[in-house]
Amino acid sequence: MSEKKAWALCLHAKDNVATVLNDVPAGEPLVVRNKSGQTLEAFEVVESIPRGHKTAVMDIPAQADVIKYGEVIGRSVTVIAKGVWVHVHNMESLRGRGDPA
């Protein structure tokens, strides 16, 4: 697992995002592995993704659940294509929302 190629960890079979473990520039290949270290797939990322941030491992429609750990961590606010950076700019929290809708 120490090879230089950028890789991402997909924590659960239900997840539609994976955590990128090294900075990966736009258009570069990304290997996605599961917790056992098995390679699930490889694809080119659409945009640069910083180390530790998430990328979509499948196309996510707008207003859809974003799933990590096999659990809902929030909701997409736009369509998020596979290989796109998933973060506060395109997903919102469903919890602790006292702000007016």
Partner: protein
């Protein structure tokens, strides 16, 4: 690895409890006494100051919480002796607090500003008291061998990032299970960091009371954001958490709860309430690191395991805080603050079980007297929160 036969050298207290440190605590009952308490500790570097900005103008449960925190700091078995410094007209009476702490049979003295006649005389009396208490602590120290099952281990995460939920918290979870399995008490909390993960914790509750407590406390915490008419994001997760890849509180929580391992949750505790049951207890405390550590130590934790992704220097007044990080950048940049480097987990060079063994060994080492990095660097932070208005 730890088992029922694992023993550690500790301080045997007269009331039968064990301590892993022998602190002289100088506790101010109210903000008016902070300067005096801190001045005393400057002259008596062996002592540790416990100062805060509460102790007066508080109501009901909020006043009770302040009293409970200060009482349980004084009674804590890591504390060998106590000097209580008061003003004289505050809500928390110095003599009342001293009497309650002395029920543990440890030596306690008081120095009260309105009785002594001002700042200088109270400092002078306090320094004299401290010297006497230190002499007594040195003569009366009882180092005994105790089972590791008598330890109370606190769990905390702060400055979390993407590494916390996938590496350092699961590693600490293994250690939480190890200590739970030998019959030790393990305390975790941070209610705000259960939002979005409370259903998983609730499944581990041993009974309906524990389950209801978890759901009710999380709902009450979530309502705080609703009452403020704000999105919790920006506070939970914090700007640093967000920069570190965490997008929502649910994502942070799902990582945070990993530090509690997989064993049943046997009991629930109000803030700073002592843990009475062997096994894993959930305490209702803020996610804010200092308030959380304070509540957990007041609950009896001898030491706190603290995972961090971004890196944090925080220690605590009367208990060692052990820093654990799986973020290679934080480990490198803040090497003097991080006790345990788990960055190998994400490079495939270390598995979680190995990480658990390393952390467990460190707990025993620190319990046996070796200083944590925060202790070596002089970190002696103290603080808690209020739950009511200031009148």
């Amino acid at each position: 690895m730890i088992n029922h036969d694992t023993r550690i050298k500790v301080y045997g207290r007269k009331n039968g409890m064990i301590g892993i440190r022998n602190h002289l605590a100088v506790i101010s009952t109210v903000f008016c006494a902070n300067h005096v308490a801190e001045s005393i500790v400057r002259q008596v570097p062996e002592a540790v100051a416990i100062t805060h900005h509460f102790g007066c103008g508080q109501l009901g449960k909020d006043a009770e919480q302040t009293l409970r925190v200060l009482t349980n700091m004084g009674k804590h078995p890591n504390v060998g002796a106590v000097l209580v410094v008061g003003l004289g007209c505050e809500q928390i009476g110095a003599h009342d607090l001293a009497v309650e702490i002395a029920s543990t049979q440890k030596p306690v003295k008081t120095s009260v500003i309105q009785d002594e006649g001002g700042t200088s005389a109270t400092i002078e009396k306090g320094v004299t008291c401290c010297r006497q208490l230190i002499k007594g602590m040195q003569e009366d120290v009882d180092r005994i061998s105790a089972s590791c099952s008598e330890l109370v281990v606190g769990l905390e995460c702060g400055g979390s990032d993407f590494t916390s939920g996938i590496a350092s918290n699961p590693a600490v979870g293994i250690v939480a299970d190890l200590f739970t399995d030998v019959g030790a008490r393990v305390i975790f909390g941070e209610t705000a960091e259960a939002l979005g993960a409370e259903h998983i914790l609730a499944e581990r509750a041993v009974n309906k009371k524990v389950k209801a407590f978890i759901f009710n406390k999380v709902a009450a915490t979530e309502k705080l954001a609703e009452d403020m008419h704000v999105d919790m994001r920006g506070s939970q997760p914090s700007p640093g958490n967000i920069a570190g890849g965490l997008s929502t509180i649910a994502e942070k929580s799902l990582g945070a709860i990993c530090k509690s391992g997989n064993r049943p949750i046997v009991d629930v505790l109000e803030y700073a309430e002592p843990a009475g049951k062997a096994g894993l207890s959930f305490m209702d405390c803020p996610g804010q690191d200092l308030a959380s550590i304070c509540g957990i130590v007041a609950g009896g934790a001898h030491a706190v395991l603290f995972t961090t992704g971004r890196g944090t220097p925080l220690g605590f007044a009367i208990a060692p805080v052990v820093k654990i990080s799986a973020n290679s950048e934080a480990v490198k940049k803040m090497a003097e603050n991080i006790d345990i480097d788990l960055s190998g987990i994400l490079t495939g060079d270390m598995n979680l079980d190995d990480a658990g063994r390393i952390i467990a060994a460190k707990v025993l080492e620190v319990a046996g007297g070796k200083l944590s990095k925060a202790e070596k660097l002089g970190h002696r932070e103290f603080g808690f929160h209020s739950i009511g208005p200031t009148l």
